[in-house]
């Protein structure tokens, strides 16, 4: 495993750090959405979780600016909102990628090498768990049991289930997406040329 020496392990978790900062334009949209959601709730601490859930439903994740806005509205320190958002697994702080990989780390998958599949994704995409690639094409997540342990280790690619995932299969999955993107880009290019 990465970051493990014989006796010490270093905690590497980038998933709860804002790696991808939204652009100014995005920020405005985020703040608009959050203001609208806040309008529907009493700004009371007991409503904090449902508000965060609403924001995540709307935006797909909890951006830093959204959390700061909510904290200001509730008159609590922003770090408390951050603490809550990092406490629950249901919240994500980075935008989901166009394609999401959910690597199962349930008991069965873990025993037959779910962590190997996870490490392959991490290596190939150069991101950590809970992260999104800088081009926002892919995001990587850990899940616990998707209910098909007989074909472990399992990876859920968007909504498709991939069974018996080896590092070679990981390469295959990524290659398929690269091909798709390539074709799309080519098509776009062609259309562009036709347009000219």
């Amino acid at each position: 495993m990465q970051g493990v020496t014989k006796r010490h392990y270093v905690i590497i978790s980038k998933g709860d750090v804002f790696v991808l900062k939204p652009s100014e334009n995005e920020k405005e949209i985020i703040i608009e959405h959050v203001a609208e959601i806040l309008g529907g709730w009493r700004a009371d601490r007991e409503n904090l979780i449902p508000i965060l859930q609403d924001v995540q439903d709307r935006l797909g994740y909890l951006p830093g600016v959204a959390m700061e806005k909510i904290a200001t509205a509730m008159d609590i320190p922003a770090v408390d909102v951050f603490g809550l958002a990092t406490f629950y697994n249901q919240f994500r702080l980075n935008p989901p990628g166009d394609h999401q990989f959910k690597v199962c780390m349930g008991t069965a998958c873990y025993m037959v090498g779910g962590n190997i599949a996870m490490d392959s994704f991490k290596r190939r995409l150069s991101i950590g768990e809970g992260d999104t690639t800088p081009d926002r094409k892919f995001s990587l997540e850990r899940v616990v049991c998707v209910g098909c342990c007989s074909i472990a280790p399992v990876v859920v690619v968007d909504d498709m289930i991939e069974g018996k995932v080896t590092p070679t299969r990981v390469d295959g999955i990524l290659l398929a997406f690269e091909d798709k993107h390539q074709k799309k880009d080519d098509n776009k290019g062609n259309q562009g040329q036709e347009g000219v």
Partner: protein
Amino acid sequence: MSKTITLTIDDRKVTAPEGEKLLWVALENDIYIPNLCAIKEEGRPSASCRLCFVHVEGLPAPVTSCTQAVREGMVVKTRTPQVDRLVRTAFELLLSDHRLKCSTCPQNRSCELQKIARARGLKLKLKRFKSLGKEYPLYESPGLFTFDRSRCVLCGRCVWVDHEVAKVGAIGFARRGLKRMVTTFGNIDLDASSCTECGLCVKACPVGALNFTGEQSSEKDG
């Protein structure tokens, strides 16, 4: 509320205002009960360090004295085999997540963990549990203090003074379970956060996680 009641702690009769929490009554009467997370002014104790267990006659199991309100005629024992066992386990668990190099720690000799070990005859060594060996990078503020998360016991005193006394709101808890840590919004460095470097959290830290550097290093004790 201001009614005075009498209770017995370790065969000693003491008086206290009714409703006061047992831990504070004992401490005020010089009866030491180990504690880390307790803050007297805090309305609702977090009761998370699990060190202040006592036996109250009539209750089936030991209770945390920071949450137990005193009653008339209460009979309390601070040391029973059951209590000692609970405290020992809680203490060992805390040590398993704490960098145990007292000789190199700035808080050596004034550390709350050492005080508890002395009071209860516990060893500052790991026997039963393995060290988690978490290594966090050391944070050094420009000239005032250092923050070593590897020594943090997550008592929450720093967070409480930051929120309630300094009213800054720069630090708080994040993540869950073994990954729980005291951090800033977005996990950024303290000097980039809203931290005002008031130093109150450093004074509140019972262990060697937050330490003054330089001239002020002698200011912190107890």
